[in-house]
Symmetry: C2
Subunit: 375 residues, 2 copies
């Protein structure tokens, strides 16, 4: 089979020259417990008129909760509840855009995503596709978007993905899973209210937090790193350690993990992920294993590559009594295993980041096979 | 005498509600050794037409150097060399704006500041005053600017002030030294090229770096801090320690101090300075002592307030063989001393941040007098 080498989950320089990417930062951020209350005031000056609604895309776990009632809807604003059970898709984006265009004569004043990585990525993509013609899938790639998105706001309710601050929105298209990476993808506004992450189930909290932790380990030990991303990555890693290994209050933990996610997302500016993401992609491709848990399943067996990182990871798993699934790859056919390995090895920039220019001499199909067999 | 309680050098919340300030971040940043080379490409799409010049405000220490030749001027662009010997003044801003308006029929396409805090602050202020009527002094304060500034770019050539990322521009006006604090003040673009900080004289490097270090100590030990600013402040402090106490290469040191300044500036979003800045302001007011060195002169004697911070500061002074001036307050009259104390005590938010709500019971004129006498 042909492996799509473009597939990566992060927004990453692959050439030396891209280490000087002119990186777009979120131009406006409010942080604080209870800062969600400010949303009405923040949106007011962005409302074009009463017929141009604000569209709130909200994780449907919040159905019937207090949070929904606190969303500052006025005029013809609409709340759309969306399940985050599956990863976001380009056809889902297209359907949302069509629905919004059919329902309203006027272009919306803004799109607000409230939820985890899935909802944030959907909000970014819908904001882009409201002003750009065609299907979302035709914009998957780097810098293919040429028209400014409509005003869009990200409000995370779980911490770890870094989606709140990144310049990509990762979508599953008809042919590939790839981000819409562009300067117009980044949110115009982010509201960081750690109170909103109360009530996240423990497993989800852990796997999403590990998305951040593993990313930090991979990028900090990688060869692509520069001082900008290093400083953000180091801070993110320190905060992850405090959250998952320290003895801090639940309140502090929520605040610190929210900042870990933020800094982890910033560190992507000039860094790259590594072995865990490459191999996790193989798992996802063949078995549909989701991103956060896939990284954990793989990372456990990467002591040869990340000795200290894996040691701490094991401590975290134990401390929080997380039972990682096992026997995942037990019933794979040889052909499926070969595909998995070939998909993983196809992620060249990730291997080059992890092992250097001559990475091909340092890794083999057999090595990957032996790791996958343990999972 | 009447003390202007509004005077502060940083951009700071003074009320609880302002802990939720909707903070503007620099929307675009490029980091990397040699990234200055990209300036031409960055400016090109911002050029309105050939008669709308880019105005480069550059520290005159670069007169005759290679850097001037590398500035990508085309069409009617203009380079204006400015001395940073004195702190930036509102009348200087007004004069620059008049000069630019007299010389060009069209509004410039942008203003680019290249230098330390003084040049960066001038560039921000000129960009604001090109679109806002009246004198710069009438905008000193919080959120008095109502028209968007013209496109402005900050390129630091010395690290520590945080001016590259803050939402203020501190100016000496006819009546007060106070920032133009506004959402329009923040740069539209920053270029962080650590190579540009090569050749900074040791004393200046040290005092400017200490601006960052002391700010971190004051804000991290303060009562106003939240988790957002704490995470930035902690990273900035870690980097300061590496730079001033670690054994790293000159190259690494430049990179890390540039990032320390950046994170230190970001931490100002939701934090406040403390005793050193309050007392340093007294020195500046009565004796004209400059900001960076004033902080150092005071900080040395603040063991009672910042025991660990002062201990490390002394190590840094020794390691880099910095000779702090002494006997500064020797010949003060009693009246001058009283003024100095009264100016320092007038900085209420700084004292409240440092010592808590009942700060007045924890500090006295006599305590300040005894400290000043040592300086």
């Amino acid at each position: 089979m042909e492996v799509n080498k473009e597939i990566t989950l992060k927004n990453i320089p692959t050439k030396a020259s891209e280490h000087y990417r002119n990186f777009p930062m979120v131009p406006r951020v409010v942080y604080g417990k209870g800062s969600f209350e400010q949303l009405g005031d923040i949106l007011m000056p962005k409302r074009k008129h009463s017929e141009a609604p604000m569209i709130f895309l909200v994780d449907d776990v919040f159905e019937g909760t207090e949070l929904l009632r606190r969303i500052p809807t006025i005029f013809s604003d609409q709340i759309i509840l969306i399940s985050a059970e599956e990863e976001p898709k380009t056809i889902q984006v297209d359907a949302l855009v069509k629905m919004i265009k059919d329902q309203f004569v006027e272009m919306p004043s803004g799109v607000i995503g409230i939820g985890g990585g899935t909802l944030l990525d959907l909000a970014k993509a819908v904001a882009i596709m409201l002003t750009n013609k065609g299907d979302a899938s035709s914009y998957q790639g780097w810098d293919l978007v040429h028209k400014k998105a409509i005003y869009h706001v990200g409000i995370p309710t779980i911490s770890g993905t870094g989606a709140e601050v990144s310049r990509t929105t990762v979508l599953l298209g008809p042919e590939k899973k790839l981000g819409i990476n562009s300067d117009y993808t980044t949110f115009d506004q982010v509201v960081l209210d750690p109170e909103l992450t109360k009530g996240v189930p423990k497993e989800q909290w852990f796997y999403t937090g590990m998305d951040c932790y593993i990313h930090c380990i991979e990028s900090l030990t990688g060869t692509y790193l520069n001082a900008f991303s290093q400083s953000y990555g180091e801070k993110s890693l320190d905060l992850c350690k405090e959250v998952f290994l320290g003895n801090i209050t639940a309140d502090d933990s929520r605040e610190k993990l929210m900042m870990a996610s933020w800094h982890g997302g910033m560190s992507i500016a000039y860094s790259q992920v590594g072995v865990a993401h490459a191999m996790s992609y193989g798992l996802g491709y063949v078995l549909g294993v989701k991103h956060g848990i896939g990284n954990c399943l793989v990372f456990k067996y990467l002591k040869d590559f990340y000795p200290e990182g894996v040691r701490l990871f094991e401590e975290m798993v134990q401390k929080h009594q997380i039972e990682l699934p096992s026997g995942i790859c037990e019933n794979l056919t040889d052909a499926e295993m070969d595909t998995m390995i070939s998909v993983a090895l196809g992620m060249e920039p990730l291997w080059e980041n992890a092992l250097g220019k001559n990475w091909k001499s340092k890794i083999s199909s057999e090595k990957l096979r032996s790791i996958y067999k343990k999972i």
